[in-house]
Symmetry: C2
Subunit: 646 residues, 2 copies
């Protein structure tokens, strides 16, 4: 008799635990960058309805950089205006002000809403299409070990994870998906994780050796807990309900965002959703210190009734309910986002939780892994030193703290009683000011990373409106060879490439021409960053792409192009034709007005400058036109030249 | 022994012969309108490369109305500028002028290019998705009969067509698809059609009884010939070559459209395509009257060589050739587009052919069947009298004649020798003027249908810039309930519905308010068109939709809405909620400037007016605010009320 022993062992570069927005964003980016990746999730299927639904401006910009924006554009719902309602003299409510939801000029992308189910579905399609990557469902880690002697060896797989196939969902006690109960902000059930429940049974296990393990597994993260880390913070001792419903109401503004402060019944936030639905947040009650909300007692009937009380004298009925939940407000963050020399990392709700009303959670979580993805790819490809991975923790933890701080203030304003003639409280002016003050942060466009090995020093006199460490903002330009109105930021695709964006001024001026020529000659020399760091046989723009934005009309650029250094307009495979898309002009377009890019970035066309931009669109540095050496030095500080054989 | 006799007989409302752009546009529209349709094509597969590639502005607007525009937007290539080159003093060429390709303001959609293969593929996807309709390939009609006694019976299937399954393509003599030879404008092989070749064999035949037979089967249309009709016209006795290639050239403008007149080597037209390719048209030679071009003698080498001669002193090489062809210039049109009381119709190249350089053919062909589709649907649904079908012939034949006329002039300018110091000829100014003059026609936005039963009389004083018979042009408006910047034309979807677009002026003015209320009360009464022609149980906007564009800020419209007649904002299934999308405002938007719609349409906000728009966006009539009766009379003239049972 033969005993058949199956050694179920495998290797993978990156193992992602958790297929929510953070995990899927990472998986999609790594798929597009062709990095060997697996993504597992203990749930049998993705979120089906409800949950997060806000997509901030910066998130939309990132979707465009990842080339998934068309799918989103077709489905999202824009909420253009916010109506603020306050108590009137008669015990009812009245409109006290209106503000635009996305402040014009902050981003070319608008703040929109789309259910988390659709967000996840779009990523699941994209990663399948990019590299045939699929979520392995009903799969949970049960243990991991770390070979600490191998952490500095780029070829080693120092993390070993045991994965367990879980039984089908009927046997699960976790009814979250079906009931729609929103877990992220509920403290209960912390201890009862999926893996605890199945730990005793070792059948259906697989041993996976990976270089990097990323925990995107939510507020009750198994990865975080098994690193011995916890979320720290406190509860605001209030609980809210949220539900998605079709609304039948005589409130005139149900298709806008409504912030409704009643005199005594509490606060309601209504956000229009796709397909005529509305997301309603309703303040339900307070808790004593240490008290937990009894979720079973918070029925949809109570949520509807409370909402109706707040809206009086307006009538509101709900012909259809799609989903509902209740949650406690609390803000918590983890001390560290990475362990074992950045071989095990956590992202999203696994390292920060907060209240959902400002629509931040899904966005900040996705931005965590958008920050991480290209760094993992650069290191795994041998293009960058492993040290750059530590900037993930430096950059994103600061952002998480800002988020927690913001949410604490913002939630308090929502929970506080409205000011009336008889009592102190949150005044319309105070609410309005908080809204205005927070808009840049909540849009995601206010995130600035502090100086580190890939965020250099600023030269603010060269580009007054470019913030080093922040994302590269957009201004419209015109394609030099096709006269198309183009969004410059849209050219900075999240394809893993660095970009050197040159603003040479007007090259009809002979000094500007000479400066550009000298810069191009230096960048194109053997020791220039693109020639130095591009593997042999690859296009010269495949690691570092040069884009040039002229303050010269496109016709003149067309005729001058052959006289410029070839690094600025490299030839491309497969036909050896020059790249026609890397020259742009700051001039009026035929159909879309004028972008005024130099003015927008605060660049003097007589002086010009060079902006180095990371693969995630964050600005690494601003250099003078004659600082080719400094630009090379910057890349030399963290990049690795390909071995001569490659 | 049993003899098994298979009676292979079936019925279908509409049988389309030919799955090129005209046939696919019709099939897509009918699929979306859920009309029982079949579409057959004798070829084994769609076009694979080359052929038509221009998509005009109006075509883009129609794609949007059909909700297929996103697919196109993702793939099309916009040519923004046209460079005109003429002979210089040294025997070479020099740039003499630049013009914008899509004149700003003519359409919100730009003239773009996309290969016919992709256009067909997008339609094939759309019709499959809409109603699971697929092209039946290797299927050709072999005969048809008409029951002339049944032509007036709406329930009859008076046309009987025999369809034949063809053997696989290896047995075909027709090498067109493989060689890429462009058939539409070549007169040879007229007599040798697919069906002739297989007529003797009756196996694999099917008898199809249909209400309508539509021949979209190209210049050598089997349907047309079997109706005993022919294309009439003449040849310009010149022949041209065309090819798609990747271009390596020192001409500075290869990514623009280039019209290049050489002194003696002829004319070249270059149009940039997607993926870095360029469509090149090259004038090859003249023919004696009656002479035919020897296609085999026109090799790609000759086309390249001729192109190189014209471009001198610029160098041009072609590292990759995707497709090539040659064609004679000729303009021909059929005497009639419909027979047997409009039960058999022809469309596209089957009724008009011309030269391809102005990028008209695919567009005019698709616009033929876009005109026809909704009419067939209205009649088949019993919503409209059969007579409206005859407007297809009236409207599209006039357009075809205009096209032929335009092409004759335009081709002559291209074929004529360039004027030089020594000789008369086509001057740069003449070429430029012809370009400017033709741009409205070539964009497809210049088509105006003459008065007929569904194109009423104009009241130009009510809306100075709305042309009755032309398409309803676009101006931006703002959604009253969501404050979104909206394209008004984009709201007029090609979903088979008629639209009553009301411009009541500013309803804060009490006369305007009263006029709108009176109009709404009349339109909403039992004898109003929507209540009268909507089947019981359907939403009141399902046959005729009312849209209202206020000259009032959206906030005021939100509060006034409950006081307006309900026909203006009907409730919708399934939840009985009011439609929030049918009220719009002419006001500045937050992010996209101001549409100035009233000014754009030439409507006095103090007076207002009502515009009745057909399902194909063409304007049927402009009425005064107090002409509710005239509006009803218009619909009464051709619509059929649902029987009380339905």
């Amino acid at each position: 008799m033969t005993v058949s022993v199956t050694t179920n062992e495998s290797k993978v570069d990156v193992l992602i635990v958790g297929a929510g927005p953070a995990g899927l964003m990472l998986a999609t980016q790594l798929s597009k960058l062709k990095i060997d990746t697996r993504i597992v999730d203990k749930m049998a299927h993705p979120v089906l309805r409800g949950h997060a639904d806000g997509l901030q401006c910066r998130t939309g910009e990132v979707f465009e950089a990842l080339n998934v924006h068309r799918e989103f554009d077709a489905e999202t719902h824009e909420c253009a205006e916010v109506i603020i309602w306050d108590p009137d003299q008669n015990g009812g409510i009245h409109e006290t002000s209106r503000v635009v939801d996305t402040v014009p000029g902050m981003s070319r992308v608008r703040h929109v809403n789309l259910g988390q189910d659709r967000v996840e579905a779009i990523f699941i399609d994209a990663m399948k299409k990019a590299n045939n990557l699929e979520v392995e469902r009903l799969t949970s880690p049960t243990s991991f070990t770390v070979d600490e002697t191998a952490l500095d060896d780029n070829d080693a797989f120092p993390i070993t994870v045991t994965l367990k196939k879980l039984p089908p969902p009927a046997e699960w006690a976790n009814g979250d998906v079906k009931s729609g109960m929103y877990r992220s902000n509920l403290f209960t059930d912390e201890s009862q994780t999926a893996s605890n429940a199945v730990e005793a049974d070792h059948s259906g296990e697989e041993t996976v050796h990976c270089k990097y393990l990323v925990g995107c597994d939510g507020a009750r993260s198994w990865v975080r807990k098994n690193l011995g880390l916890e979320l720290k913070g406190d509860s605001a001792n209030v609980y809210w309900g949220a539900f998605d419903a079709v609304v039948d109401s005589d409130l005139p503004t149900t298709r806008m965002k409504n912030v409704i402060h009643s005199k005594d019944a509490g606060t309601v936030l209504m956000v229009p959703r796709e397909d005529g639905m509305v997301r309603v947040y309703t303040q339900m009650g307070e808790l004593k210190p240490g008290e937990r909300v009894d979720r079973a007692a918070v029925t949809i009937e109570k949520l509807m009734e409370k909402t109706q009380q707040v809206l009086k004298p307006y009538r509101i009925d709900f012909p259809y309910i799609d989903w509902y939940t209740c949650y406690e407000i609390g803000q918590r963050v983890c001390d560290t986002f990475s362990q074992y020399k950045d071989h095990i990392l956590i992202a999203g709700d696994a390292c920060h939780t907060h209240s959902p009303k400002a629509g931040q959670g899904m966005n900040v979580s996705m931005m965590d892994t958008f920050n991480l993805g290209w760094k993992l790819a650069s290191v795994l490809r041998g293009q960058a030193k492993r040290d750059i991975l530590h900037t993930y923790q430096l950059e994103r933890q600061k952002t998480a703290h800002q988020l927690i701080e913001f949410d604490r203030k913002f939630s308090a304003l929502f929970t506080g009683k409205a000011k009336t003639a008889e009592r102190a409280g949150v005044s319309p002016e105070e609410m309005r000011k908080a809204w205005d003050d927070s808009i840049r942060f909540t849009s995601g466009t206010g995130v600035v990373y502090e100086p580190n090995m890939i965020v250099g020093k600023a030269n603010p006199w060269l580009a007054k409106n470019i913030t080093v460490g922040s994302h590269f903002e957009n201004h419209q330009v015109v394609g030099a060879f096709n006269a198309h109105a183009l969004q410059l930021q849209g050219r900075l695709l999240a394809d893993g490439r660095w970009r050197i964006v040159i603003f040479p001024g007007d090259i009809r001026n002979k000094d500007n021409f000479a400066a550009l020529k000298a810069l191009g000659d230096a960048l194109g020399s053997k020791s220039g960053p693109a020639p130095k760091y591009t593997p042999k046989g690859e296009d010269l723009d495949s690691v570092i792409q040069t884009l040039t934005v002229f303050a010269t009309p496109h016709r003149e650029v067309q005729y001058a192009a052959p006289t410029l250094p070839s690094i600025l307009q490299p030839t491309k495979k497969p036909h050896g034709i020059k790249d026609f898309d890397c020259f742009m002009c700051d001039e009026p377009s035929y159909h879309s007005g004028e972008g005024k890019a130099y003015a927008g970035y605060g660049i003097d066309p007589a002086v010009g400058c060079v902006v180095v931009v990371r693969p995630d669109q964050h600005v690494s540095g601003v250099f003078a036109m004659d600082e080719a050496k400094e630009i090379s030095d910057f890349f030399d500080s963290f990049m690795i030249a390909p071995s001569p054989k490659s």
